[in-house]
Amino acid sequence: MKVASFFAQHADEILRATGEHVWLVFWAMLIAVAVGVPLGILVTRRPWLSKPILGGANIAETIPSLALFGFLLPVPWLGDRAERLAIVALALYALLPIIRNTATGIEGVDRAVREAARGMGMTDGQILWKVELPLSLSTVIAGVRVATVLTIGIATIAAAVGTGGLGEFIFRGLAMVNNELILAGAIPAALLALAADFGFSLLERRFRPAR
């Protein structure tokens, strides 16, 4: 029961760190969606861009997170503030599932539906906004779901460059060989991830088109 009493004693600190964590993830996801969805659409419009865009996102995904934070540190404006750097790095990680799912969702729209839309005299923009995006929304959300869970985990590592968040406990705990401290970071992070996963799964189902 040592862990429980530790949590009770440090409730304030844990809450503050959780808040910081959510804040980091929120901004990272916002940027990732704002960049990833248009890129996903672009991939379906210009197939020759598919390789470079998905390839690039794939490479970003394979860089070890600690190393990526290190790489970005000397970048002028980015390296000035730890949060800035962490948010951009996290957004880079979140990109791949979002781009891929957006493209998959749009490509998965029934060929007959798209052809009917074109044949009725819908413009490309109308087809995108009224047909393709609504019909692929649930697939896009599934990508955001995966990316969010991923980002909540990686955001703990951002503490290494001084962003705060739940990772702080984990790094401190590792340094001091203190399991309670590590768990004080790991358990809330895991709960956050589960909550995000559940929340997005509800959204995903809500927007799944009936077949």
Binding site: D110, A112, V113, E115, A116, A117, R118, G119, M120, G121, M122, T123, Q126, V131, P134, L135, P209, A210, R211
Partner: protein, 258 residues
């Protein structure tokens, strides 16, 4: 939609050839005129070029050489969107929007054309009744709650929504089971006279062609082999026509033996 002064030819193919970018020719020098108000059925086997010909009319494809004229104007001179709004389009799988209700599906083009809500609603009711679907019962349903035959009826209603002078139908009854197909086809036959539209239908079904056509355009391997009235077709000496007629005869004989 405002109707332009009547031209004598609604649709005209002028030596229209369609070649794929890779060079394969799908359609070779088609010459064909469709008069306003007539129903032309393009008959042929899969790969004969029927669907390609149809898509040249609403400019889903553009001819590689030659021209296709709609109401006297080459399709490439038309604004593609304006052209398609003047042409109803029905495809085999209906292509209804799964996230729209039946009513919303029918109202797609009227809405794009900026009709008032009230006018849209009235039109939806009118059209659902026209294709034999009780408006109050079906308006709010989604496509996945309909049978294949009902979906196809909605597809026809949607194509007619903005009262286009021309209607293109690509195997409109092809995905239906034989009994439903016969039913929907007969209903459409009755509708045809009332609509007074220029209609081009693509099919590989000889009995469908004979029932619905004022003229039959026989296609094979990317070429138009001839254009016949249904009566002329029954006496045609063309090889491909003869093959279709033989098939018809087999069916009749099988019927007589029973």
């Amino acid at each position: 939609m405002a109707h332009e002064p009547h031209t004598e030819v609604a649709i005209e193919f002028e030596d229209a050839t369609y070649r794929l970018p890779q060079g394969k020719t799908l359609l070779r020098r088609i010459r064909l005129r469709v008069a306003p108000g007539e129903t032309l059925v393009l008959l042929g086997r899969s790969g004969a070029g029927k669907t390609t010909a149809l898509k040249l009319i609403n400019r889903l494809l553009e001819p590689s050489t030659g021209a296709v004229r709609v109401e006297g104007k080459s399709t490439v001179e038309w604004d593609a969107i304006a052209l398609r709004r003047r042409i109803g389009y029905v495809i085999q799988e209906a292509g209804l929007f799964p996230h729209y209700t039946v009513g919303e599906n029918v109202a797609v083009v009227p809405k794009l054309e900026g009709w008032s809500e009230d006018r849209q609603r009235r039109r939806v009711r009118e059209l659902l009744a026209l294709v034999g679907l009780e408006p109050e019962e079906f308006r709010k349903r989604y496509p996945h709650e309909l049978s294949g035959g009902q979906r196809q009826r909605v597809g026809v209603a949607r194509a007619l929504a903005a009262d286009p002078p021309i209607l293109l139908m690509d195997e409109p009854f092809g995905a239906l089971d034989p009994l439903t197909r016969g039913e929907v086809r007969r209903e459409f036959h009755e509708l045809q006279a009332r609509l007074g539209k220029t209609i081009v239908i693509v099919t590989h079904d000889i009995s469908e062609a004979l029932l619905l056509a004022t003229r039959i355009g026989l296609m094979d391997a990317g070429e138009l082999r001839g254009v016949y009235s249904p009566r002329e077709f029954l006496n045609a000496t063309d090889q491909v026509a003869a093959a279709y007629l033989a098939q018809l005869r087999v069916l009749e004989e099988a019927g007589e033996e029973k």
